[in-house]
């Protein structure tokens, strides 16, 4: 029954997210939607995906949306009438997809193509013998599809760089080209003249929270969050976990600290410079292990050659790259928060 109910609840949440007028409620419903999605991943036995979704979807993305909402300070004033052309396009797409599902194989069947194609049985069979990993997800991620993961990590790091480039360099000094342009715009039609109403009800995220309960509980919880994050990274070999999941959890611990104790305090624990350095050093560790393998006479990212015993060499190599992935992902998650929080803060 839950197999039917949870997806149905997802649909309800998905529609509600777009229907509610208040942006704050919309973001909260989206958080619930992500949490339900995490439960659905568990139901589908995708445990690694569930850990990531719970930390990313319900945790970081909610915080991120709220920070941006606090920075833009606007309610959704969009007209409530139904957009007929858009609705027609959406219904047409649904109809085409529905027609497409008639040819798709039945789900939950062990004999359909995605499950019987040569690669999956090969991965399941050789995961331990070649990569030394009991968790097949980790062995595919780091061993069989190592290149894939290397570039995924690079994409995550690049997103971090994008944020830094977009937010840190603008409006550094008064009198630059940027601020002159702003003055020119100010003289012409302004937002207020076409009926834009700003609201200023959001507390500043940069400030400390004075609530003693929150401060005490956070102080108590953060070591455990970080310990769990490290456990998830190094335990990827034996059970659910790995660099992506653990890195996200580690990133969350700093974000929580910053939310409660204020940005200034958080900067003392994890400075902006350290964080910038960590973003690229994680990718460097990953790529570096690949290069070390070359020196030992193997192919790029062939961890087996690192030690005399190929299986143990793989275990060590995969541990190394999981740590690399964890560092980059954690640092980028902190970047997403730091850079968006700082928008109006400095200079």
């Amino acid at each position: 029954m839950t197999d039917l109910a949870i997806p149905l609840f997802l649909v309800v949440c998905g529609i509600a997210v777009l229907l509610v007028k208040d942006l704050m409620s919309s973001i909260m419903i989206f958080s619930v939607y992500s949490l339900m999605m995490a439960i659905e991943w568990c139901r589908l036995n995708a445990v690694d995906v569930a850990i990531t979704e719970a930390a990313v979807g319900a945790g970081i993305s909610t915080v991120l949306f709220l920070v941006i909402l606090g920075r833009t300070k606007y309610v959704d004033e969009g007209k409530k009438h139904v957009n007929i052309p858009a609705l027609l396009v959406a219904v047409a797409v649904a109809a085409v997809l529905l027609y497409g599902t008639m040819d798709l194989p039945h789900l939950r069947d062990a004999n359909i193509a995605p499950n019987t194609h040569v690669v999956t049985p090969y991965y399941l069979e050789h995961s331990y013998e070649q990569a030394g990993q009991l968790n097949v997800v980790a062995s595919i991620l780091a061993y069989f599809r190592g290149y894939d993961t290397l570039f995924e990590t690079t994409v995550v790091a690049t997103a971090g760089f994008c944020l830094v480039l977009l937010l840190r360099v603008r409006n550094k000094k008064p009198g630059t080209l940027d601020s002159q342009k702003n003055e020119v715009t100010a003289r012409k039609k302004t937002p207020a003249s076409i009926g834009v109403k700003p609201i200023e009800t959001f507390p500043d995220i940069l400030d400390q929270d004075k609530d003693i309960i929150k401060r005490t509980v956070t102080k108590f919880l953060i070591p455990f969050i970080q310990l769990f994050g490290l456990y998830v990274i190094v335990h990827g070999e034996l059970g659910p976990g790995g660099g992506f999941q653990g890195g996200v959890i580690l990133g969350v611990s700093i974000i929580v600290y910053s939310l409660v104790f204020g940005f200034e305090e958080a900067k003392k624990r994890m400075s902006v410079k350290t964080k910038d350095l960590l973003v690229s050093s994680g990718v460097l560790i990953y790529g570096g292990i690949g290069v070390i393998a070359l020196f030992f006479g193997g192919n790029y990212l062939q961890y087996g050659v690192l030690l005399p015993d190929p299986q143990f060499g793989s275990v060590v190599g995969i541990m190394g790259i999981e740590i690399g992935v964890g560092i980059t992902v954690a640092a980028v998650m902190i970047t997403l928060f730091y850079e968006t929080v700082r928008i109006d803060a400095d200079d």
């Binding site: 197999d3 039917l4 997806p7 998905g14 529609i15 997210v17 777009l18 942006l23 919309s26 973001i27 939607y33 991943w41 995708a46 690694d48 995906v49 990531t52 979704e53 993305s61 991120l64 949306f65 941006i68 833009t72 606007y74 959704d76 004033e77 969009g78 007209k79 139904v82 957009n83 609705l87 959406a90 649904a94 997809l97 529905l98 789900l107 939950r108 062990a110 995605p114 499950n115 991965y123 331990y128 009991l134 968790n135 097949v136 595919i140 991620l141 995924e152 997103a159 994008c162 944020l163 977009l166 937010l167 937002p191 207020a192 834009v196 992902v329 997403l336 850079e339 968006t340 928008i343």
Partner: protein, 123 residues
């Protein structure tokens, strides 16, 4: 029950996908558009992970150190691909949200129609 479940998740995916698509096209608020895009994205993830589930299968973690008979496992491959897609997804969402704040600083609004109107007047 099994017959119903055989195509059930496909329908859910289609509804979520369409909802997200409609949100991106019809909502005027840029933050709402990005939320719509996220709903769209999770629908695609759900499509892939639904494919990986096998009736009676268990999470793909080997038992007894990989020796001896193993239980029936779900397909780990879609799970790996979607796992990384979630982390990449939040990173790209953050970039999109950054653009929203930059647009807000420039225009003072994040409503699409108002931005277009301001563009018309200020050209």
């Amino acid at each position: 029950m099994i017959e119903l479940l055989a195509k059930y998740n496909y329908w859910i995916v289609i509804i979520l996908l369409t909802t997200g698509l409609y949100g991106v096209m019809a909502r005027q608020n840029l933050i709402k558009k990005i939320i719509g895009l996220n709903v769209f994205q999770t629908a695609v993830l759900l499509f892939y992970v639904s494919m990986s589930k096998i009736e009676g299968g268990t999470a793909p973690i080997l038992i007894n150190h990989g020796h001896g008979p193993q239980p029936l496992f779900d397909n780990p491959l879609p799970q790996v691909l979607m796992l990384t897609a979630i982390v990449v997804g939040i990173s790209t969402t953050a970039v999109a949200l950054t653009f929203v704040t930059l647009i807000y600083r420039e225009y003072g609004t994040i409503e699409e129609d108002q931005i277009l109107e301001l563009n018309k007047h200020n050209d």
